[in-house]
Amino acid sequence: MPGSAAACTVRPDGVAPFARNLEAHGLALVRDAALTLQVNVGLLCNLACRHCHLEAGPARTEVMSPDTMRQVAEHARTHAYAAIDVTGGAPELVPGIAGFMARLAPLAKRTMFRTNLLALAREESRELLEVLVENQVALVASLPSLAASQAEAQRGKGVLDHSLAMLRRLNDLGYGAEGSGLDLDLVSNPTGAFLPPGQEAAERRFKADLARRHGIAFNRLYVFANVPLGRYRKWLEASGNYEGYVRRLADAFNPCTLAGLMCRTLVSVGWDGQVYDCDFNQAEGLPMGGVPRRIHELDGPPAAGARIAVGDHCYACTAGAGFT
């Protein structure tokens, strides 16, 4: 069953369970005030990326229902979040997504929409794109590498050219232009069993290369380590990289990352309305507070100080500069 990582691979020798590692450092991972409502509207996707921790893909049928969308919007209206972050799968493929974005956008200071670019480039996404522009929704687009061989090894054949074409189209709409109010941020995940580069240096290089080679502008680049769950974990296991990768993550454990981890301020809602501390716990099936609950069952955002569910996958967010 996709989504719950099979416990078929043992933890490498010498790597402590993440919870025990925190204890050994005298640390606890607890919630701070909730600032961001992240909404995963479904696992249906037009791509089947090899690093996807949710194993999203064209064969998946799980998408958020109109009722759950209504409950999410009601929760967001009642409990003001600074930011709302809509993700998937490919959110573009979810029925009713344009209307959902139009309802959510006025409810937070910043609304983000995650896209693999190809799904947004489809003719069927035209109305959605108009809604995103009209409501000044920030786009967060996946672009792992500017080398075709690496981008396509992760995301599929032909993906880089289509991604670049859509980025140019977004630039033409004003996305990525200073002062336009239309933020275009990129996300780069490593295309293999290694950690990402430093974010600032990578952003400088992506900006220079995209401008010089393709005439494309964007606002910010985020680099994130891949989390050893789902399809990525299966690839690690099949390629004989699992042990080395997990050891690499554990060796790079940085206690200073804990204060800024995104799970401390995030409420993550699954396609079925279940709430989690983060998208990775969603993939691992670890509910917020240890008890399965749906968004409409919450009295409000989780209280500061509440303990966050952790697993060995948390090593990915605490390696090096961390996942913020």
Partner: protein
Amino acid sequence: MDTYYDPSDLQQFGDVCKDAPELGKAFFDYYGKIFAEGALSGREKCLMGLAVALTVQCPYCIESFTKQCLEQGSTLEEMTEAAHVVTAIRGGASLVHGMQMRRMAEKLSM
């Protein structure tokens, strides 16, 4: 020992100077400073390190700098071009010695 090279040697590299710890410390301090960001970026230094690793054909260094290049965000295109720079200089170094051959042959020839 079945082979001259053992991949686990790389993880234990620090042990190599157990019997000369001051020299070892001096080397590893120097090594760390060399690869820190400077006038050259860490990424550029790693690409140079990869090129030298290929030149000296050190399997430990090739493993280490391949990983470091990827983690510094270098692409396979860039790393492959670095390998060609090595090849060009190594090949060119042989070819340019052909000038010695030519001078010698011309001196001996009618």
